[in-house]
């Protein structure tokens, strides 16, 4: 027997498992799925919630007086586990009945119906009665913020959102308040989400097992605009959407369904189907140039140049540093996000080309992200009150709308994005993954700085899913130090280093969501399966590999945009339309 393995039995079957394994994991590894609710563990990330408080996963352990929570009990040599004795089944059923006794049970009209872990469990355990139906129920008011909707009447106190917000994202906007039956998870002192530290990263929504935390649904607005003959509704879709939306239609995670996505959007009634990836290439032009500008000034002897430069396309990340690091507002890149650059260009350059006033255009974005809903409404992204991007729908909302519209997604033929805001390169495609923005920027920065063509386009040094990564890129003898972080907890570490003068990096990419945008708050729910994130991650780089053009500056439509309209990167017009500044929100 190997040194670090022990023998246990589960349901009278003998197994050999690694020391330190929990009963839950040991069972799973051997094909036994013990039901859970509060537990979630995205292996490989720091997303790990096992308060062992729902008590659904309790099992019998030989010699132990009471039942043990499988998610948090470590196997010991000779342990005898029963996952389905009558005692366990009765306990599990009673626990679920208790949870349901303090739940609205209005599945028919709940936005989470069909995707709810509580609903699935009730079906699995065949709950057909509610024995405590006349008991007291929690009464909370539903709170609707611009990105996230909170209905704490549905909360089962799994504490995943609290763990996500405090331990993973280190934002601390919500936490458990009060005690006993009236315990709930909310911002402190009865604040609304909009008054709290919330960055709208939406990771709480991404892990909520029930309908307590959901996205602010903008489908209604979209339907209104699509039915308005006076409006020209155009859509842009983010890089991370096309590798994930297929999951909502039964495709395995990581299936690239771009062509079908475009067709579906056309069938829904969008006048023009454009691509956020186009604007991502544009972002690289501006941000890459900004990086090179700061670098050359720094290397030229100007010590006042703020370094490192930080990417700024993630609005939750922007919120985070405006709130928590307002003393460092001059460090991030001034470039707007691809979503916002798109809107700005669509309502100026494209509107002029089409001879249409900007007020007639409705720019809708399909995003893997919930913070994008908030970003559209920032005042600096409006011209005389008219927003560059009118509103944003998440991947989930779009998939639901496609289904509502009776479109048979799986049988659709592929279509191409419309011109001139639809063409993109592989560099844009990789924006969806952590490290992608940096790699895209490097591809352009390298060639612009050195004047040479890249021998190897893939900067594999910056790829991967570890929370914090670093790389050193040789730019004509200059050692460019790169830092990458995804998840705001890791971002905080990087920022604190910068604040205390301990940062050695010249450029840092930050994404608020674990995995990058592919793991965004608006994506199809992963329900704790890291395999889903991994598959999407792989697909992002597959897409890049197969694209004819893989460097942003080679995008002919981008070149045309500069020639015809913008002038040059960081120029006056580019500055006005494609750059921004930040505000202290402490």
């Amino acid at each position: 027997m190997e040194q670090n393995k022990i023998n246990i039995t589960i349901d009278n079957r003998p197994f050999s498992v690694k020391k330190g394994t929990t009963i839950l994991d040991a069972a799973k590894a051997n094909g036994i799925e013990i039901p859970t609710l509060c537990h979630i563990n995205l292996k490989g990330t720091c997303v790990d919630n096992h308060p062992a408080s729902c008590r659904i996963c309790v099992v019998e352990v030989g010699g132990r007086r009471n039942l043990a929570p499988a998610c948090a009990t470590v196997c010991t040599e000779g342990m005898e586990v029963r996952t389905n004795s009558i005692r366990v089944l009765k306990a599990r059923k009673t626990i679920l009945e208790l949870i349901l006794s303090n739940h609205p049970n209005d599945c028919l009209v709940c936005p989470k119906s069909g995707n709810c872990e509580l609903q699935a469990l009730a079906q699995k355990l065949k709950i057909h009665e509610t024995p405590y139906a006349d008991g007291e129920r929690s009464k909370h008011e539903v709170e609707s913020s611009v990105s996230i909707v909170r209905d704490m009447n549905k909360c089962i106190l799994c504490r995943r959102c609290e763990t996500m917000c405090n331990d993973v994202q280190t934002v601390g906007a919500i936490g458990a308040i009060n005690r006993g039956f009236i315990t709930t998870v909310a911002p402190a002192f009865g604040q609304k989400l909009s008054e709290s530290e919330c960055t709208y990263c939406g990771q709480c929504v991404a892990v909520c097992p029930v309908g307590a935390l959901t996205e602010r649904d903008n489908t209604g607005k979209l339907i209104d605009d699509l039915s308005d003959p006076n409006k020209i509704v155009v859509v842009q879709t983010a890089p991370a959407v096309r590798v994930a939306i297929g999951e909502e239609f039964g495709y395995p995670a990581g299936t690239i369904v771009t062509g079908k996505l475009v067709t579906a959007l056309k069938q829904l009634g969008f006048k023009y189907v454009f691509d956020t990836n186009f604007a991502a290439d544009l972002t690289i032009m501006e941000e890459g140039s900004e990086l090179l500008d700061r670098l050359s000034r720094f290397l030229g002897g100007d010590k006042s140049v703020p370094l490192p430069i930080l990417t700024s396309c993630c609005p939750a990340w922007v919120n985070f540093f405006e709130r928590q690091f307002p003393d460092m507002l001059n460090i991030p890149s001034t470039a707007r996000s691809p979503q916002q650059m798109f809107g700005s260009i669509a309502k100026t350059y494209w509107a002029e080309k089409m001879g249409v006033p900007r007020e007639k255009i409705v720019v809708v974005s399909i995003m893997p992200c919930l913070a994008k809903k908030y970003e559209c409404g920032r005042d600096e992204f409006k011209v005389d009150g008219n927003p560059d991007v009118d509103y944003s729908l998440s991947t989930r909302e779009l998939a639901a709308f496609i289904k509502q519209a009776n479109i048979n997604f799986n049988s659709l033929e592929d279509s191409e994005f419309d011109s001139p805001l639809g063409a993109s390169t592989g560099a844009a495609a990789i924006f969806g993954a952590t490290g992608g923005v940096m790699e895209a920027a490097l591809r352009t920065a390298y060639e612009l700085y050195t004047g040479k063509t890249l021998e190897k386009i893939d900067f594999t040094e910056v790829r991967g899913l570890e929370g914090v990564r670093q790389a050193t890129i040789n730019l004509n003898g200059f050692e460019l130090k790169i830092g990458i972080a995804h998840g705001l907890g890791y971002a905080r570490r990087m920022l604190e280093d910068i604040r205390h003068g301990k940062s050695e990096y010249h450029a840092i990419e930050i994404m608020a969501c674990p995995g990058g945008c592919i793991g965004g708050g608006g994506q199809p729910l992963h329900h704790g399966k890291m395999e889903t994130i991994n598959a999407r991650h792989k697909a992002i780089y597959e897409e890049d590999k197969n694209m004819p053009l893989r460097k942003s500056h080679e995008n002919p439509y981008i070149q045309q945009l500069y020639e015809e309209f913008l002038g040059k990167p960081l120029g006056e017009k580019a500055h006005k339309l494609l750059h921004t500044h930040y505000f202290s929100k402490q």
């Binding site: 308060p51 062992a52 408080s53 729902c54 008590r55 659904i56 309790v58 009471n66 039942l67 929570p69 948090a72 470590v74 005692r87 009765k90 306990a91 009673t94 626990i95 208790l98 949870i99 006794s101 303090n102 024995p131 405590y132 008991g135 007291e136 089962i156 106190l157 936490g175 458990a176 009060n178 005690r179 006993g180 039956f181 009236i182 315990t183």
Partner: protein, 635 residues
């Protein structure tokens, strides 16, 4: 002045002995002749009770008045007023004890101070009307040694309560205080210290009864430069005041014990987590800590042996659940007071993830005397598996309400009928609740079981922290279960499903039963749900919360059945099942009841028979208490 050696400690002890001589003599001897200055008594001490119970009845004013009186008579050089800790006989408080003749005055009022000074202190004549009268013999008993309340008590943890001034560390030292600490640090290894605690057989007094020596050993075996000793002074059981009295009456015993524990496990830091609702205990602890530091008994380099130890006080914030050790630790860490899973146990990973030993106040109070008298002495008291004594807060329908300490193995019958003086007002004993909200009710058939950990658990209850509530025929057992469950629902932290929601649902069922809307099926529902909660709750609070229900269902099922089947409450407590009725043969129509009825439910003409409208009646009972002809009855 820093005590840097056994010699220094001995010097203080000898100096301070004189403070205590008079009182220590009185412990051993019978009072003898009534003392009095005019009779030639040289020195007299007036001990007044400084425990919260007596203080709430103005005992501080008694002491003040005494002092003023003594000053007026110019006899302060011969007579001293000393405020001590709790004497224990709370039913008869405020207590004043006269040394050297041991006169035990009861129910003293501030106005009585003058009389006591003039008649007794100066005149040598006892104030008869303030003496305790034995209800059986109807004779007064002057010396507490001869009282049934005290006769069977063995005060170990409470050894200094009611004897010394808790705000004067010299008196504690005079009682051999800190000799144990000195001996441990100077003459013993940590392993030897732990061995002594193990040999004594001391088990945790907070309720779980885990062997203290073993707990200390686990903490010792954890490797870390930083470790913590924590005193759990969050005493939350309703009606319990054992720990409070120890902290108020003998705070130095805790300090010394924590320092000994620190030495044994290798910890420099001590933390006392005391509930904020104990301001007097907090005050006494603060005074004791300050004085201990002044004497070098806390702080750096104790007894010049390179061992540092100091204590900080942390306050609770009104949560019963923070008496659970992991929740307590998290509360101190500034986090939500919620229990977390064990393992890891605090001895391995506790406060701020460092090895931490958590002990209850009473457990610690026993430590110094175990070292002073030896572990074999301690182990000679009690039963085979439960050594030593236990402090109980005896309350409820009993004649002698108060704080008692008895050897383990004393029977319930002895406690209730001998020490407790039997049931109040001559009513019939029904049950005694031990273990607070985690315990159960013991009945007539259990009266002869010895009080020890295993026996009480086997009988369906548990030792708990020491609350003992006596109930008589007028207690409704359903209401008793509901009281404890209501407490739990209020105090549940809300983390795990069975306790947060399960207890709430059980309470709703009990509410239904008490309101007369219960059904027979509800009893099965209750039992079934209680079983699942016991089996699945995350912490001790939840796991034991069904005990009052299960225990009363088991011992008093017929009472429950009467409630649900016959809509009857035999103890006449469940007002929904009772009605006030006017006997038409006795009613003379004086209208007194109707005039006083707060909801105008009584109608009738003057001089005519009145009737009560049951649909309006709120069962307040004002009518019955007003009727001079006993024409109204409660059925």
């Amino acid at each position: 002045m820093k005590i840097a050696s056994l010699h220094d400690l001995e010097k203080i002890r000898v100096e301070a002995k004189s403070l205590l001589t008079l009182r220590e003599k009185s412990l051993l001897e019978s009072g003898g002749e009534t003392c009095g200055l005019e009779k030639g008594t040289e020195h007299i001490q007036i001990l007044t009770c400084g425990g919260t119970g007596c203080q709430a009845s103005d005992s501080a004013k008694i002491a003040e008045n005494m002092q003023a009186c003594l000053e007026e008579f110019g006899i302060t050089d011969k007579v001293k007023v000393i405020t001590t800790g709790c004497f224990g006989f709370c039913e008869k408080g405020p207590i004043v004890k006269i040394i050297p003749d041991n006169t035990f005055y009861t129910k003293v009022k501030p106005e009585d101070a003058v009389e006591i000074v003039k008649e007794h202190i100066i005149g040598g004549r006892k104030v008869e009307r303030l003496l305790y009268v034995d209800p059986e013999t109807n004779k007064s008993v002057s010396d507490s040694k001869h009282m049934n309340f005290y006769r069977k008590q063995v005060r170990v943890a409470l050894r200094n309560c009611g004897l010394i001034d808790p705000e004067n560390i010299r008196e504690y030292i005079a009682r051999d205080g800190y000799t144990a600490l000195a001996d441990c640090i100077i003459n013993k290894t940590p392993e030897e210290v732990i061995d002594i605690v193990k040999r004594s057989g001391l088990r945790g007094r907070g309720g779980a009864g885990f062997p203290a020596g073993n707990k200390w050993e686990f903490a010792r075996n954890s490797k870390s430069d930083i470790k913590y000793v924590v005193c759990n002074a969050d005493e939350g059981d309703p009606g319990a005041f054992m720990d409070r009295s120890i902290m108020e009456g003998d705070p130095n015993s805790i300090i010394e014990a924590m320092a000994i524990c620190g030495y044994a496990i290798g910890a420099k830091y001590g933390l006392v987590y005391v509930r904020a609702e104990y301001p007097l205990a907090i005050h006494r602890l603060k005074v004791a800590i300050k004085q201990a530091r002044e004497f070098g008994l806390l702080g750096k380099d104790l007894f010049d042996r390179g061992f540092d130890f100091d204590i900080e006080i942390r306050y609770g914030a009104g949560a019963f659940v923070c008496g659970e050790e992991t929740a307590l630790i998290h509360s101190m860490e500034g986090m939500r007071g919620e229990p977390t899973l064990k393992p890891p146990f605090p001895a391995v990973q506790g406060y701020k993830k460092y090895p931490t030993n958590v002990n209850n106040v009473e457990t610690l109070a026993n430590i110094p005397i175990i070292f002073q008298n030896g572990p074999e002495w301690f182990a000679s008291i009690g039963t085979e598996k439960s050594k030593g004594t236990k402090v109980f807060a005896l309350a409820g329908k009993i004649n002698n309400v108060g704080l008692i300490e008895v050897p383990m193995g004393t029977t319930l019958r002895e406690v209730i009928y001998e020490i407790g003086g039997g049931i109040k007002d001559g009513k019939k004993f029904k049950a005694v609740q031990t273990g607070g909200p985690s315990g159960g009710c013991l009945t007539e058939k259990h009266l002869d079981i010895p009080i020890d950990y295993e026996s009480l658990t086997a009988a369906g209850s548990m030792m708990g922290s020491g609350g003992m509530i006596v109930m008589d025929e007028d207690n409704c057992m359903v209401q008793v279960a509901r009281f404890y469950l209501g407490f739990i629902v209020e105090e549940s932290c809300g983390k795990c499903t069975p306790c947060r929601i399960g207890n709430k649902r059980m309470l709703e069922i009990l509410d239904k039963i008490v309101e007369g809307k219960g059904k027979v099926e509800d009893l099965d529902k209750l039992e079934s749900l209680a079983g699942v909660i016991k089996d699945t709750a995350l912490c001790g609070l939840g796991q034991t919360s069904p005990n009052p229900i299960l225990s009363t269902l088991s011992n008093f099922r017929d009472e429950y059945m009467e409630h649900v089947v016959e809509n009857k409450c035999r103890s006449k407590q469940c007002t929904s099942m009772l009605s006030y009725t006017i006997n038409p043969e006795k009613c003379i129509g004086c209208r007194l009841c109707a005039k006083n009825c707060p909801v105008s439910a009584i109608s009738g003409e003057l001089k005519q028979v009145h009737t009560i409208d049951q649909s309006k009646c709120i069962k307040c009972g004002v009518c019955l208490s007003n009727c001079r002809l006993h024409a109204i009855s409660l059925k």
